[in-house]
Amino acid sequence: MSTLTLRPTRKRLKSRTGANVRIISGVVACFLFLVPVIWMVATSFKLPTDIFTTPPSFFAPITFSNYGSYMDAADIPHRMMNTVIVAIGASVLSVVAGAMAGYALSRLRIKGAATIGVLILVSRGVPPIALAVPMFLVARKLNITDLHITLILAYCTFLIPYVMWLMRSFFLALPKELEESAMIDGTSRLGAFFRIIVPISMPGLISTLIFSVILAWEELLFALVLTNRNAATIPVAIAGMAADTENGAMWGQLAAVGTITVLPLIVFALLVQKWLVKGLAESATKG
């Protein structure tokens, strides 16, 4: 910072303007991405007769009935709880296992590890529909269908490869001296990893965690096949509402569901932002 203050004022001004231009265009881009979201939220407050109109109704009478009937719909609070448990469980498990594997790939020369890593990565290439049916057959054989842990394990199959590969690249960007010094102090590799590498990689870890939670949150196919009632998640309920063959889909309600399911994740993302910045600050002091 001190170097910057010594620079000529004109240059500083220019970089400030540059930053402002960046910020403004960033905000505009963000707004554009939010247009459909805004429409969804607006729809969730409309009466069914106001949703499909020409011209589109912007100032329709506001109703909260969509939210009421949504919470009223089959088992929603229970399903929401299930979704939270499964998404968090699968993500934490995947981030721990995936980050360790990513570290092994980036830093530890192990014979065969690279091959295993590539195998793990390409396991993502299997169409999920091909996995869902046999997974169900196995789960039933073991008598573990309709349990949270089953869904958590199933979700790990697509989360771990992501986490591993992304974290590998984050670890590659770290300075090599970091764990060397710790190792010489006699700390084990595992100790060095959790005490030094993990804190410094917080931005990457948190981003991957957020991403994992999101993927697990909206997964439909495995949840549909592997659960019935006890561990059933929100996306299955939504798919059912959208495919209402009796009365037609209630778009107000669906938009309300969409809005409600988004909220916890946004709160979660805002909460973990703190660590995102903290990790950065720490790496700045240490690096």
């Binding site: 069914p48 007769t49 109109t53 719909a73 014979k111 059912g240 063959t245």
Partner: protein
């Protein structure tokens, strides 16, 4: 290091072998699970339960009505059968058949009662998973349970290979909805069930109109399924049937690769001209919204939407006086309709067959069916119910239309193929129909391809 590596490899191999063994075990166990399908249920599985030992049964149903039943129908049932606890689990429609089949493979399946859409019974029954009701449940059937009171066409939806696996619990028919106000505005008489396809197509251009005089067209003649979907072909299948044609002969050979087949498909394709812009992407929901907004003069869709379309002011801008419901226009042979009956069937491996049948029997009895259509507005399948005067006034014209519909369905065999491959056949029809409607191929080309593909499938 080498040693370790070696050991590790061996361990790895062992794990793999273990995995393989587990897999083989799983498969062989799965293989044993096939039960003979027609054996009458030997045990009553705790009968109807007692206050001390209630029985619990589970039903797999469609999300569209699972909740309605759980909250309204089950309490009513429990007034009479307090010791049977009923769980109804909903599944999204599109995945319901696969999910049902998958669940039925278990030696002790989770579900005692299975809800089957119109053309699913052969597929599910062929796996040996369903109870033959007239044989296996005869001992528990009330003497006054009147099988012959059902419309034959409705009961036939639960029948396959000479056995009655299901009974109609929610009847539905493909119907024509009309918006009488738009007909009036176009200076036309509202259609009656006697209208023919020729008359209908002649009126269609006049129903594409500008109702508020601002110079822009804001109302159209028709809306229905146009997108690639297994229910889209049911429109031209109905037209084919009402022209006396058939999709398949009784021996399962293709019977629509002729002028009648091409014409029927062409009629559905022509409808698109009189539908709103963007209608080529329409499935079930989109025409409904447009009709409820008063933009469509006619709509071909399932009768069950009538309440939300004509009666319920929170979902529709229309009133029962404006909305007509009737059979599809008359072809060279008869009026048209297409059967969409949900049948309730019972798992042959159910641990509580008597209790399960008690529920299904109660719901489909004369009293139960009347209760259901009066309270929930669900369409009945019994002649006694359809000939009675419904408590809810809006049901009066609907009952009249359903009766005509069932008669047309029965006469023209207006249903999807009754065979194990029924869904696969509909999928083939859907693929080509979906390409023909937006004009990517001609009706003739579509019919040629469909016939070839179906012949190959059924070979």
């Amino acid at each position: 290091m080498m040693q370790m590596n070696h050991g590790n490899g061996r361990r790895m191999r062992r794990t793999l072998i273990a995995g393989g063994v587990t897999a083989a075990l799983a498969l062989s166990l799965g293989g044993c699970a096939t039960a003979s399908n027609d054996a009458p249920a030997a045990v009553d599985g705790g009968g109807l339960g007692t206050a001390d030992k209630p029985v619990e049964i589970t039903m797999i149903a469609n999300d569209g009505y699972a909740k309605q039943w759980q909250e309204n129908m089950v309490p009513e049932f429990n007034k009479e059968f307090p010791n049977i606890k009923v769980n109804i689990e909903g599944v999204p429609y599109g995945d319901q058949l696969s999910k049902t089949l998958l669940e039925m493979t278990a030696p002790e399946p989770r579900y005692d009662i299975v809800m089957a859409d119109d053309n699913w019974i052969p597929q599910i029954a062929s796996t040996g998973g369903l109870l033959d009701l007239k044989a296996g449940a005869a001992a528990w059937t009330d003497e006054d349970y009147d099988w012959d009171d059902f419309y034959p066409a409705a009961l036939a939806a639960g029948e396959w290979d000479g056995k009655q696996y299901g009974v109609p619990t929610r009847s539905n028919l493909l119907m024509m909805f009309t918006n009488k106000s738009l007909y009036e505005k176009a200076g036309l008489e509202a259609p009656t069930p006697e209208i023919t396809w020729d008359e209908y197509m002649e009126q269609a251009p006049k129903l594409v109109q500008d109702t508020d005089g601002d110079g822009a067209v804001d109302a159209w003649a028709v809306g229905t399924y146009f997108v690639r979907d297994s229910l889209t072909p049911t429109i031209w299948q109905t037209i084919l049937n009402s022209n006396g044609g058939k999709l398949l002969d009784d021996d399962g050979t293709v019977a629509f690769d002729n002028k009648k087949g091409v014409e029927a498909l062409q009629t559905q394709m022509d409808l698109l001209q009189y539908a709103p812009p963007g209608a080529s992407t329409w499935q079930f929901n989109e025409p409904l919204e447009a009709f409820r907004q008063g933009r469509l003069a006619t709509m071909f869709t399932w009768g069950s939407v009538y309440r939300g379309t004509a009666v319920d002011p929170t979902t529709t801008t229309l009133t029962p006086e404006q909305v007509g419901i009737q059979t599809l226009p008359v072809g060279s042979a008869s009026a048209g309709a297409h059967r969409g009956v949900w049948s309730a069937a019972i798992s042959s491996k159910s641990a509580h067959p008597e209790a399960s049948w008690a529920l299904v029997q109660w719901l489909t009895s004369k009293a139960g069916e009347k209760w259901q259509s009066n309270t929930l507005g669900v369409f009945p399948a019994r002649q006694s119910t359809l000939n009675s005067t419904p408590e809810q006034e809006w049901l009066v014209p609907v009952f009249a239309a359903i009766k005509e519909g069932f008669e047309a369905v029965d006469a023209g065999q207006m249903w999807r193929p009754r065979m194990v491959e029924s869904d696969a056949v509909q999928q083939i029809l859907a693929d080509q129909t979906g390409e023909a409607i937006p004009g990517q191929i001609t009706a003739q080309e579509a019919v040629d391809t469909m016939s070839a593909d179906i012949t190959k499938l059924l070979k």
